[in-house]
Structure formats: C-alpha cells, structure tokens
C-alpha cells in the first residue's frame, strides 16, 4: 500500500534537497579554493606583443628581462595548427633586412637563434618559395623576449606564436617580478572562477 504525500510534504522534501545540494556545492568550491594552485600565466589579449590591434609598437621584452631566473621561465610557443608554414616567416626572418640573392631576408628576428626552420612534406625543387616549413622553437635557447610574437601577429603573421609560462621552471613567486613590471597587466595569476 503506497503512502500518499501531501502537497506540503512534497514541497518540504524539495526544499531540503535543494538546500543540501547547495551546501555540497559551496563546500566543494571552498575546498577547491583552499587547495588550488594559482599559477602565473600570460593573457595574450593583453600582452602588447600579441594583442591584436596593437600595431606599430615596440616589442616589450620584460618577460625576458624581469624574471628572477637567469633564463626566464617564459617561452615563445608556436601553435602549429595556426602557423602558415611560410617560406619567409616574418617571425623568423627580419623582413626589413636586406634581401639576399636567393630572395630571402639576410637577418633573423630571434637574437638567440632559437627558432629552427625546416622544409617539410613534399618538396618541389623548382619552387622552393612555396615549400612548407616548420618553425620550431628551441626552448633551451628561447628567453621569452617576445620579438617573434610581435612579428607573428596579424596582419603580417597569423598570430600562431604566443608567450607562455613554463611551470616546470617558474618559481611561482608570490610577488612575481615580471607581473610587477608588466605595463599591460598581462602577467596574471587569476583565481579559479
């Protein structure tokens, strides 16, 4: 024989259930906040080197100059799926430098020669200017100066290179020297939402 519930009882159960679920959620959030690691990161939409619309600006190198480590914990990272794999990459070649007899600029952007350029896929020997090239950043050399990031930005580039903090080397300082110096407030340690 089933027990019938009054309308008052049903509403009461529902209210208690809702309150319990809310309490559980709040407890979980507090636990997360208490135990989460707040890592430093770079907001690409704020960083002047990568922010769209900031054209004709000088490169900001504070990520490489301000870090307390001898070699900054910041690295340039090339997202290959967005890279055009161009013959003449404006983030690799200094496109304003003199052109050599092969039609390529004679100077490179990276002062530490940290970007490696290699032809990939089908190579047409009669058409070298339209072979595809991988641009791989050697993280043992990169110091996160951001010059390649600035040059990769639209409209000249496709914006595939950005700066990232390498957490295996970052000391996670409470008062990060880069964050203190960043003029765009792009070096941030956001709390979980």
């Amino acid at each position: 024989m089933s027990k019938t519930h009054t309308r008052r009882e049903v509403l009461g159960h529902a209210a208690r259930g809702t309150a319990l679920a809310g309490l559980g959620g709040l407890t979980g959030l507090l636990w997360l906040k208490a135990n989460a690691t707040f890592a430093w990161s770079i907001n690409a939409q704020r960083c002047i080197n990568s922010r769209l619309g900031a054209v004709g600006v000088d490169v900001c190198e504070r990520c490489s100059t301000e870090c307390v480590l001898a070699l900054s914990a910041v690295r340039a990272v090339n997202e290959f799926k967005s890279c055009g794999r161009c013959y003449v990459c404006p983030a690799y070649f200094k496109i304003t430098s003199a052109v050599g007899p092969d039609g390529l600029p004679t100077e490179k952007v990276c002062p530490r020669d940290a970007i490696k350029r290699e032809a990939i896929g089908w190579i047409d020997p009669d058409d070298p200017a339209n072979n595809f090239y991988d641009y791989t950043i050697d993280e043992t050399l990169c110091n996160g100066c951001g010059r390649c990031v600035l040059e990769c930005k639209e409209p000249a580039g496709l914006g595939s290179i950005r700066l990232e903090v390498r957490h295996d080397t970052c000391l996670d300082c409470n008062r990060c020297a880069i964050a203190q110096a960043c003029p765009e407030d792009a070096f941030d340690r956001p709390e979980p939402a």
């Binding site: 004709g56 304003t96 896929g121 339209n130 639209e154 409209p155």
Partner: protein, 445 residues
C-alpha cells in the same frame, strides 16, 4: 576593339539594318554610333567597353567602373543573387567581356589548374581549360585575374606559366613558362601578377635572369621587345600599370628594390625609384597625374609619393613624401584615386578604409564603423563597394572626401580571407570568397 566596332558601323552598308518604326535609317544609324561611342571607354589604353571588366582593376586598370544607374540602397538580405558557383580556394577574381566571365581556378580533388568561362547572365559554364598541375595551398592557390580582349584570354597561373587561350573555345593557343624561358623565380605564395593587354600585345614582367619585362604578340606569343634585368631583381606580386609620365607612354611595376618604368614603345628602362619593399609587394603603382606616382606595400614598407620627370634624354625621380609604416600603407590592394584623394584599406589599426589626400594626410577612416582587414574594393557610380576580408560582408559607401558614409551592407559571402578583387559589368557584380563565386544584380530598376 574600339577601332573594330567603329568600323562595323561605318561599313553599315554591308549590314542589314532594321530601323524601328517612325525613325529613318540615318537617324538610327547616328544614334547607334553615339551609343556605341558612349559605351566605348575613351581613355587611352583602355581595354574593352565601359560595360566590360576585361582585366585586373577594370578597363583602365584603375579600379573604377564607369557604369551608372546602380542601386544606392539594398533590400533586406542584400542585392539579388543571380548565380553562384563553387570555386577552389584562392583570390582569383573575374574578368568580364561581352557577357562572359573568365577566371582562374584550381580543383584540389583532381589536382587540375583551371581557366573557366561562364555566362554573366546565369553562370552557366561555357568551357573550361584544365591541366594537371600539383599546386598545394599556400595561403590558398589562385590569386590572379585573367585579361581578355574577347578573342584571347591570357592567364598567368600560380607557377608563372602564361596561358593564351581562344576566348570562344578555351583551347590553348600558346604558352610561356616564365621559369624556363626567362629564368623567373616563382614568388612565395605563388604568382600574383595579372597580365596586361594592349592593342596587339600582352605585356608581363617575368623579372627573371633573362628579362625584366616582355611584350608578346597576342596572337602568337612572339616576342616584340624585352627589357633586360640588369640588376638581377626577382619577381614579386605587383602587376604592370600603364601610365603616361613626362609625355611618354610607359609601364610601371614594383620589385622589392623599388618601382621601375619601361617604355611602352620599345621596353627601354626609363627610370627606377629606389624604395625598400619588404618580403613582397602586392599593390601596384598608382599614377596620380602626368608626373606623380604613389607606391605602397606590406610588411612595414609604408608608402611613398614620387615624381617622375623627363630631363634631357632621360628621366629622373624625386621623392615627394614618404608614409612611415605606422602612418599608412596598403597591404595587398592598390589604392583608388578619386577627386584628388587616395582610398584604400590601410594596415594601421587593422584594416580601416581610409581617405588620404595627395599630401599624404589622412582625411578620414572607417574607425568605429567597419574594419576591412585586407578586403578589396572598387569605385562605381559615385560609390565604393568594399568587402570585409575577415567576414565577407559587402559594404556600399558613398564616395566622398569628407567622411565615411555607409549606404548599405549585405552578408553575401563568408570569411575568412575574402581578398579577391571585385568585377562589375552591366550592373552585375561578381565577387568571391574562398569557396564560391557569386554574381549580384546591382542595377537600379
């Protein structure tokens, strides 16, 4: 073409003429002559009639259509779409002549380079030239506009082969491989040069080890003259632009080391304005008047106005002003000259359509209204038609030198990289994005 059509009417006695009721034959004859002459574009060097768009940047290669009677407002949803056809990825736009649309294309499934001919009225394909070619996308594949006089179609393909086709059938009449014949290097992102046709010749700039510029007989491909490439320059993406400077008809184009002018009569190099372009130069030189020329380019090149003067037996150049990269430039498209102002999509602030006076000062831009990225534009009937490069939005602006004034807009195409030039003929606008070519009816009823 102009001469031929006029001759047709003068030799009207050989043609059965049917005058309309109430008008005698001589009146109708005079009317038809006047109509024909008004349709024929009268500027020197023009190709085709005012209603044709036979080459890159139209009959006068200035990006300006002389058509009138176009819609100044558009219905909701935009102008009527007359037809649409799928195309391979690229920016190769249409040349239109006598009701036929010619354009370059590529079929990635079959690895075939194509030159296609459609009817302007309904987009029906009349013929297609195809050739097996392995061309992989490198920021798309096709990017040039053919040139046609109605008898031949000339197409310079991505790997720098010039094809001359019979315009009626699509059969190849002759070809020139610029790499093999002139020692050209295929530029990064493939060839971007659009052939130029003049009365009896097609003119191209191989910029190879064996030739800087060549003029070829339209019918046979036989060389008429060639300009040696004494400085060993290499091919970029600029197209030849005809101009009369210092009273001498010449062809201008840009290489990475600046802009050069050669005599139209014999190909003699007349002058060189040194200017440092970086990586590539896509916009073509813009003749302002009988002396001044404006050049601009991408990758922090900026721009420059210079003067070409005839001095003694030769020519000299002198800089008038320079646009620093942070001031203004055009990345891809050649500016349009209108009422002593230049109009183009500038790089600064990412793609603002900008009006610049002839002293290089900005008058207005589209800030806060629209951003066009690297989109293309033409001027017609006192209005600019501009495509947003990122979205494919087509915008109609009033052409004026005082302020940005938008008249209409329509989302006909879709982004990204909607950079192909526009072509207008008989009130029909042919535009494209990376996947389709569309014809719109812009004629006011």
């Amino acid at each position: 073409m102009k001469v031929l059509r006029f001759y047709w009417y003068r030799s009207g006695s050989n043609v059965k003429y049917m005058g309309s009721q109430g008008q005698n034959g001589s009146v109708m004859f005079a009317k038809r002559v006047c109509l024909t002459l008004s349709l024929l574009w009268f500027a020197p060097g023009a190709v085709g009639t005012a209603a044709d768009w036979p080459q890159f940047r139209g009959p006068n290669r200035d990006g300006i259509s002389r058509e009138t009677g176009l819609l100044r407002t558009w219905p909701a949803g935009g102008p009527k779409v007359l037809w649409s056809t799928p195309v391979g990825q690229g920016y190769a736009a249409a040349a239109i002549y006598d009701g036929k649309v010619y354009f370059n294309d590529y079929d990635e499934k079959t690895s075939e380079y194509l030159i296609r001919c459609l009817t302007l009225a309904d987009g029906k394909e009349l013929w297609r030239f195809s050739e097996k070619r392995r061309i992989r996308p490198n920021h798309s594949i096709t990017r040039t506009v053919p040139a046609t006089d109605g008898k031949h179609v000339f197409s310079l393909d991505p790997k720098a082969v010039l094809h001359a086709l019979d315009a009626a059938t699509g059969q190849e009449v002759w070809r020139k491989n610029l790499v093999q014949e002139y020692g050209s290097k295929i530029p990064p992102w493939y060839n971007g040069q659009c052939p130029l046709i003049e009365e009896d010749r097609v003119v191209i700039a191989p910029v190879g080890t064996k030739a800087l510029v060549v003029a070829l007989d339209k019918a046979t491909g036989k060389e008429i003259w060639r300009t040696p490439n004494a400085d060993g320059w290499i091919l970029s993406h600029s197209s030849l632009m005809p101009a009369t400077l210092g009273g001498v008809k010449q062809y201008m184009f840009s290489v990475l080391q600046g802009t050069v002018g050669v005599s139209a009569a014999d190909g003699k190099r007349l002058w060189h304005f040194p200017f440092k372009f970086n990586l590539s130069v896509s916009p073509s030189p813009l003749a302002i008047d009988s002396e001044r020329v404006y050049v601009t380019g991408p990758y922090d090149a900026g721009g420059a106005m210079f003067r070409v003067k005839k001095a003694g037996g030769g020519f000299t150049t002198e800089q008038v002003f320079v646009h620093a990269p942070e001031e203004w430039n055009s990345e891809v498209q050649t500016p349009i000259l209108f009422e002593n102002h230049m109009f183009a999509v500038g790089k600064k602030k990412r793609g603002l359509f900008t009006c610049v006076d002839l002293n290089g000062k900005q008058v207005w831009d589209s800030a806060g209204k629209a951003s066009f990225e690297l989109g293309s534009f033409i001027l017609a009937d006192g209005m600019f038609l501009i495509l947003e490069g990122k979205t494919g939005m087509l915008r109609l602006l009033e052409a004026n030198t005082t302020a940005y004034k938008e008249l209409a807009s329509a989302q006909i195409l879709s982004g990204h990289d909607v950079w192909g030039p526009l072509a207008l003929s008989n009130g029909k606008l042919v535009i494209r994005d990376l996947t389709k070519m569309v014809c719109l009816d812009l004629k006011a009823r």
